[in-house]
């Protein structure tokens, strides 16, 4: 038995929103590290973040029973006891700030603004940095929100833990860096990634993957060792069991663990060891693995999110 009320659209939205957030943060980081280089990588990565979040939000709207009512943000997301409300407004604000940032990051647009507008020539870089920081703050919020949405639902034991927002946030950063790596590989002829930045990104990948492995391990351990005498505890353990050794285990171990964590970690370490040599293929392989694994993680966590059989368990306890 799997959770089938929220299926592929919400799962893909959680992935795309997280990946977009991570990509925007990494792109902003690249810009802040060196404001004159990697202009194409930065702008393309920012557009990739915008498209990711935009497509994710569109999927979410299409999944609603009443999509037209759903796009009336001020009416349909006006109840501020719901994390979905905070998420909708946060994602909307992020989309606006990211779009502006991405637009002025386009080299030809930036050049034109500098040429035609004296004030922008003097303050443009500062404006971009400020927008980048604001966008990155919103990105952190959106990344964490993808986990908070599930955590604060309250009816699904597997999701009802602060470890889930932690897991999704780390995974969002991880997949975001992977997306920027893919962009860098694709644009390697037009805008080669500097060795210094390349090494930094590989180190970030190592740190994030190790962190994600740790959080994932603790998350599953907590769930598997939940109190079996309660309905919630039983459901939490059953859900985690689905992932670890149940019907979802093959997908979980192959896609999330091997593809999404082991391969990116191995490739990043190999890349670091290779030093000055061309690590494009190694980087691309690791990044694609991280993206597939990150996407799979959302699908599997959603699918394993089964409810406890509270009424049935209450009956069974009565009849003992």
């Amino acid at each position: 038995m799997l959770q089938l009320v929220w299926t592929w659209q919400p799962a893909l939205y959680l992935f795309l929103g997280g990946m977009g957030s991570g990509a925007f943060i990494m792109a902003t980081g690249l810009f802040l590290m060196d404001k004159t280089r990697h202009r194409l990588i930065v702008s393309t990565s920012m557009w990739a973040a915008v498209i990711s979040l935009g497509v994710g939000l569109m999927l979410l709207v299409l999944e609603l029973i009443n999509p037209l009512r759903g796009i009336l943000l001020w009416q349909s997301f006006s109840h501020f006891t719901s994390w979905m409300t905070y998420g909708a407004w946060g994602a909307f604000c992020a989309l606006v700030v990211w779009t502006v940032s991405a637009f002025i990051a386009v080299p030809s647009v930036n050049n034109r603004l500098v040429e035609k507008w004296g004030w922008y020539k003097r303050h443009g870089t500062k404006i971009r940095a400020v927008l980048g920081v604001i966008g990155a703050a919103l990105a952190v919020f959106v990344a964490a929100y993808t986990g908070m949405l599930l955590k604060t639902a309250g009816g699904v034991p597997l999701w009802d833990t602060p470890l889930l927002p932690c897991l999704f946030t780390v995974s969002a950063f991880d997949t975001g860096v992977a997306l920027v790596e893919v962009v860098a590989v694709v644009l390697s002829k037009k805008d080669p990634l500097a060795h210094h930045e390349s090494m930094i990104m590989k180190r970030i990948v190592v740190v994030l993957v190790v962190l994600e492995l740790a959080v994932l391990w603790v998350f599953l351990w907590v769930m598997l060792s939940a109190n079996p005498t309660t309905s919630g505890g039983q459901a939490a353990a059953s859900s985690a069991g689905l992932l670890v050794n149940g019907s979802l285990s093959v997908l979980f171990w192959s896609i999330v663990v091997v593809c999404g964590l082991v391969i990116p970690l191995t490739m990043a370490i190999c890349g670091l060891a290779m030093g000055e040599r061309n690590t494009r293929h190694v980087m691309a392989f690791g990044a694609v693995g991280a993206l597939v694994g990150g996407c799979g993680l959302r699908f599997l966590i959603l699918a394993a999110g089964i409810h406890a059989d509270v009424i049935g368990d209450t009956m069974s306890n009565l009849l003992l």
Binding site: S78, H79, N317
Partner: protein, 218 residues
């Protein structure tokens, strides 16, 4: 670029921002008082709830059919009431009929982004189908898997308010039960009455403080 063009553009941008802000503000302020009014009119003085007798319920589903009939549920609307069956150690089958628990602290109401779910008179938890966007977050929030969906919105038990029954009056499922397995009333009174008869009284769960109890002669 001349000054007049620049001025005209600035004015246009300012105008668009001002109109947009006004629209959003108007929308928010329009949505909020409506809910505040609703809350004010829906003061919950006495919490009503359901009591189901596991020794009397035979699983005939008359309650399910009456609920569907009188609430005029469409074909694509799932049942609002469900029968749960369990066996005791002697192999004897017991059943209980449950629907929405009309919780004291409903998760569904908390997580609904549109504020479509409210707690009204008699503590009934009701969904406003004109506000529901159908995000299905309430299903993930409800520990009892109560919210269900049709092609229009979320659907669940509202103690037959939508079928014209006044808050506190007997819903059709209770009237339809020929075996006296279902009771509806002020929940504290129902619990006190069952306890005074020395019956077992067990709440269906703890989460959200549901107002539905399973009872039966000991």
């Amino acid at each position: 670029m001349n000054d007049e063009t620049t001025m005209a553009r600035r004015t246009l941008v300012k105008g668009v921002i001002a109109i947009g802000s006004c629209l959003i503000f108007a929308g928010v302020t329009q949505a909020m008082p409506a809910r505040a009014e609703e809350a004010a009119s829906g003061l919950v003085d006495v919490q009503y709830g359901f009591m189901v007798n596991r020794r009397k319920c035979v699983g005939c589903k008359n309650c399910v059919a009456a609920c569907r009939k009188y609430n005029k549920l469409s074909d694509d609307t799932p049942d609002r009431r469900r029968i749960t069956e369990r066996f005791d150690s002697h192999g004897k089958k017991y059943r209980v009929s449950t629907s929405c628990m009309h919780c004291d602290d409903p998760n569904c109401m908390r997580v609904c982004p549109a504020g479509a779910i409210s707690k009204v008179d008699a503590g009934i938890v009701q969904v406003d189908k004109d506000l529901c966007i159908g995000c299905k977050y309430c299903f993930q929030a409800c520990p009892y898997e109560v919210p269900r969906y049709n092609s229009d919105s979320m659907d669940k038990c509202d103690c037959c308010l939508g079928a014209g029954v006044k808050p506190g009056d007997q819903p059709y499922c209770v009237s339809a039960c020929k075996f006296g397995a279902l009771s509806y009333g002020p929940i504290d009174d129902l619990v006190a009455e069952a306890e005074s008869l020395n019956h077992e009284v067990v709440r269906v769960g703890d989460a959200c403080e549901p107002n539905c109890y399973i009872t039966g002669e000991v």
